[in-house]
Point group: C2
C-alpha cells in the first residue's frame, strides 16, 4: 500500500485519453470539433441566440494544426474561464434539461489534448455582458493536470463589440480528413439536425465552406423535465431527500417529480400508511422502497411533451431530402417515455430510399445509419450503440427490404433526453436500455411500413406499365 494513491480526474484522463474519444489522428481532430461545436450551440441556444460559428483550421505541417473556433454565444465570464477549460467534471449541464453537453469534460479534454501534443497554452477571448455592457477579456492558460485546475499565464482586458467565445488551440498528431470520420463530414451531419445554425469553416487549403442557415427559427428552449415517478428509484428519493431544502417529504415529492400532485401524494400516504409530512431526512430506505413500489402500481400521465425538443418530423424529412435527394422519405417522432430512473426521452426516426441514400461499398449499396443524440451526430462506436442494435433487430424483409447490407436506404435516428445514457465518456454510443431499444424499433418500423407501401405502389406501377 505504499503505491496507493488517488488520481484527479485530469490525471486519469491524461492516462486514458482514448476514453475522451481521442484515439487515432482523424478521430481525435473530429472529436475536438465535436466538443467545441456542441458547446457553442448549447450556449447560444440557452441565450436565445441563433448559433453562428466561425472555424479556421490552419495546417502548419504534417499532422500539425492551429484551430481557431469563434462563436456568437453569451460568452464566459472571466472568473469561470479556467474552470470551464481546465477542470474536468465541471460544467453547467448537470440539471434535468436537454442539452448536448452533460459531463463537464468536453472542452477541458480539448485543452488537455492540445497541451499533450504541443506543450502550448490555450488562448481564449471572451466577450460577455455585465450590466448591459460588453466586457472583453483574453486569457492564455495551461491545465495543471495534477490538480485538475487552470494556470493563467496571461490575462488582459480587450475591447469587444459582441459577445461570444473564441478559442485558439494548437494540435499535433491529429489529421484533417474528408473521409466519413473526418471533421468536414461531422460538420455536414451537424447541419442536418441543426438547420437554425450557421457554420463558416475555412479548411487547411484555405477553402471557405459556408454552411448556411436553412431556418431563421430558434428552436424552442428545452424545459426542465423532472424525473418521472414511473422509473424513479428508492436511491433517487433518498438522494433528493438528502439535498433538498424542502421541509416536508411531501413537498419534496411534488416539487421534484413530474406528474406528482398533492392528490397523488395523499393517495400514496393512504396506500402505504407512511406519514409524508415528516422531514425528508427522516425518510428511511425501506419506506422509500415502499413508495417507489406504490408508484409502479399507480397510473401517472406520461411525461410532459413540452420539456424535450426533438428535431421534428417535418425538419427530419426536410434535412434528409436536402442532402440525400431521395425518391422517398418518411419520418416520425414518438411520444416521451422514460427509461430507468424515470428519465424522459423521445425517439425520432426517418427513412429515405433512393437518390443518394445508402452507402456504396464496392458495387453494392448498403443501408446507411445516421445516429444522433440531442441533435448531435454520433460518428464512432456504431457497433456498440443501442440505436444500431435496435435497427438490426428489425425484420426488414417484412418491409420489402431484403436486409440492411443490401438496401439503398438511409435510416436517421435521433434520441433526445435530459440525460442520454452514453456507454463511455467519449459519448459516441448509447446504452441498450430496454425502453430505448423498444422505441427505436417502434419508430423505425412505423416509417418502414410507409416505405413498404411506397415500394409496393412503385412495383405495381411498374407492372402496370409493362402490360
Amino acid at each position: 500500500f505504499e503505491e496507493f494513491k488517488e488520481l484527479t480526474a485530469s490525471e486519469f484522463f491524461r492516462r486514458n485519453k482514448q476514453m475522451l474519444g481521442f484515439s487515432g489522428k482523424i478521430r481525435s481532430l473530429t472529436m475536438v470539433f465535436h466538443e467545441l461545436i456542441t458547446n457553442s450551440f448549447d450556449a447560444a441556444e440557452e441565450a436565445g441566440i441563433l448559433p453562428e460559428i466561425k472555424i479556421d483550421l490552419k495546417r502548419l505541417d504534417k499532422d500539425h494544426y492551429i484551430l481557431r473556433h469563434r462563436d456568437n454565444g453569451p460568452g464566459i465570464p472571466e472568473d469561470f474561464i479556467t474552470k470551464v477549460f481546465c477542470t474536468m467534471f465541471a460544467g453547467s449541464k448537470f440539471r434535468n434539461i436537454q442539452s448536448r453537453g452533460q459531463q463537464g469534460l468536453g472542452c477541458s479534454g480539448c485543452v488537455l489534448l492540445s497541451q499533450m501534443t504541443t506543450g502550448k497554452p490555450a488562448r481564449v477571448t471572451s466577450g460577455y455582458k455585465v450590466n448591459g455592457e460588453i466586457k472583453g477579456v483574453q486569457m492564455t492558460f495551461k491545465m495543471d493536470v495534477k490538480k485538475n485546475q487552470g494556470l493563467i499565464l496571461d490575462k488582459k482586458e480587450i475591447p469587444l463589440d459582441s459577445t461570444g467565445v473564441c478559442i485558439e488551440l494548437h494540435f499535433k498528431d491529429v489529421s484533417y480528413s474528408l473521409s466519413e470520420q473526418g471533421a468536414y463530414e461531422y460538420i455536414r451531419r451537424t447541419m442536418i439536425a441543426n438547420p437554425h445554425a450557421k457554420i463558416t469553416f475555412r479548411d487547411p487549403t484555405g477553402h471557405v465552406y459556408i454552411f448556411d442557415r436553412a431556418s431563421e427559427e430558434i428552436p424552442p428552449l428545452p424545459k426542465e423535465v423532472l424525473p418521472h415517478p414511473r422509473g424513479v428509484t428508492a436511491d433517487d428519493l433518498i438522494f433528493m431527500a438528502k439535498h433538498t431544502d424542502k421541509r416536508r417529504f411531501r413537498s419534496m415529492l411534488t416539487s421534484n417529480l413530474s406528474r406528482m400532485s398533492t392528490k397523488r401524494v395523499n393517495e400514496i400516504e393512504e396506500i402505504t400508511g407512511i406519514d409524508l409530512n415528516k422531514r425528508p431526512k427522516d425518510m428511511k430506505w425501506e419506506e422509500a422502497e415502499q413508495i417507489v413500489e406504490t408508484f409502479r402500481k399507480m397510473d401517472f400521465m406520461a411525461p410532459p411533451t413540452s420539456g424535450l425538443i426533438p428535431i421534428g418530423q417535418e425538419q427530419v424529412e426536410k434535412g434528409m431530402i436536402e442532402i440525400l435527394d431521395p425518391e422517398f422519405v418518411a419520418a416520425t417522432t414518438r411520444k416521451p417515455v422514460t427509461y430507468r430512473g424515470g428519465v424522459a426521452f423521445v425517439i425520432e426516426s426517418g427513412i429515405s430510399y433512393g437518390g443518394e441514400s445508402g452507402r456504396l461499398i464496392g458495387d453494392q449499396k448498403k443501408a446507411e445509419i445516421m445516429r444522433f443524440a440531442n441533435r448531435v451526430p454520433l460518428t464512432f462506436d456504431q457497433g456498440s450503440c443501442a440505436i444500431t442494435e435496435g435497427l438490426k433487430s428489425i425484420d426488414w424483409k417484412r418491409y420489402g427490404i431484403r436486409d440492411l447490407d443490401n438496401a439503398p436506404i438511409t435510416v436517421f435516428v435521433n434520441i433526445v433526453s435530459t440525460n442520454v445514457p452514453y456507454l463511455s465518456t467519449g459519448k459516441q454510443s448509447v446504452a441498450p436500455e430496454p425502453e430505448i431499444l423498444h422505441e427505436v424499433r417502434q419508430a423505425t418500423m412505423k416509417v418502414a411500413r410507409k416505405l413498404q407501401k411506397y415500394l409496393r405502389a412503385k412495383k405495381a406501377e411498374k407492372e402496370e406499365a409493362m402490360r
Copy 2:
C-alpha cells in the same frame, strides 16, 4: 453560470453507472464478480500467494441477492479500507506493472451499486500482517457519494487466523444467470486464463462448484516495464521531468526509460546538441520534441521480455483442450512491442477446431471469439473491441475457413500490457491502436496457418481413405 458546478468522481459515476459496466441486470452482477475476482487475483499474486477465492451468492428474492466474497490475499490495512472501497480513482495499480486493475474504480463501483440498489452498507472483514502478527478488523461503511469518500458506521477488532479480505454486499435489480453473459460463465472463462487459481462458488440454489487448480505454479510476478523510447512522447518526457527527483535530465532518462543507457544518452546529446546535464525542470518543450524525434531515428532493443507475463503457448493450448475437447489446437505468443506512448504489450493467440469449438447458433456453428486482457475475460462490448476488429480483418478463406460465421472454431486472444488502452471505464473492449491490430492479426494468422495445414492433411487423409 449560476448552474455551474463541479462533480466529484463518485457523483459522476452515480449518474452514469452504465459507464462502470452496470447496465442491465445480468451484466451488472457479472461485472461485480469481475471487479472482486480481479482484485483478489492481483492482491494474492503480488504477495506471492496462489489465489483462492470463496464466493457465496444467496438469493433473498427475485433480483435480490447477498454476495459474500472472500480471498486469501494479504488483506487490506485498516486505514486503507474506506479509501479502497469508497474512493473512485484511488488504487495501487497506477504504475508501469502489468496487473488486472488499473483505474482505481472497480470495487468502489461495486459498493456504489450495492448502496444505490439497496441502501445497505457494505461490510468488510480484513486480515493483514503487522510485524508478523495477523491483525483482524471488521468494518461496516457506506460511500459518501458527494465527497467520494467513506462513512464508517461500525468498526471492531476481531481475531483472524489468516490474511485476506471478505466483503459482503447486498444487491437488488441484478440477476444471476447461467447464460453466456452471466456470472457462472465469467468464472469458467477466468479459470482458462488462470489455472493457478482456485474458486469455490456456491450459487443461489445452494449448489457448490469447485473450480480447482490445474497448476501449483505461481506465475512469475510481472516486473515494472519502463516506457520504451520508441513511442514515448514529448509530453511524457516533460511530465516525467516535472515529477522526478533526479537532479539531471540525463539521469532521469536512464532511470525512467527502458533500453536507455549512458552510451545512448551521449549519442542523443551529440545528435541534438542539447545539454542533457541540465535540471529536468529546465528542459523546454521544443527540446523534448527534438529528443523524441531523435529516439525515433535511433535503434533501440525491443522492450524486455521479462516484465510482461503472458499466459504462455503451452497453457493456452492446455486450457483450450480442457474446456473445448477439440480435434486440433495451436497457440502462439508474440514478442513484446509497444504502442503509442512507448507502452509495451504482448499478444497471444490460440485457435481450436472441432469438438466443442465454436458456438451453435440455430443449426450452424459460428466462430467463437474469447477475448482476454491481462488474463481477464472480456465478456461485453465485443463489437467495438480491437481484438474483434483485428480478427474480422483476416482473410480466413486463405486458411481453409470459409468465413467466421461458418466455422467450428474458437479463437482465443489475450493482450498483456502495463496499461491496456480500454475504450471505457467498463474495461470490456480495447482501443484499436494500429500496433495492437497488427499484432492480433499476425499472431492469429500464424496459428491459422497451422490449422490450415491440419485441415489439408485431414482432407488428404479422407481422400486417400476413399480410394
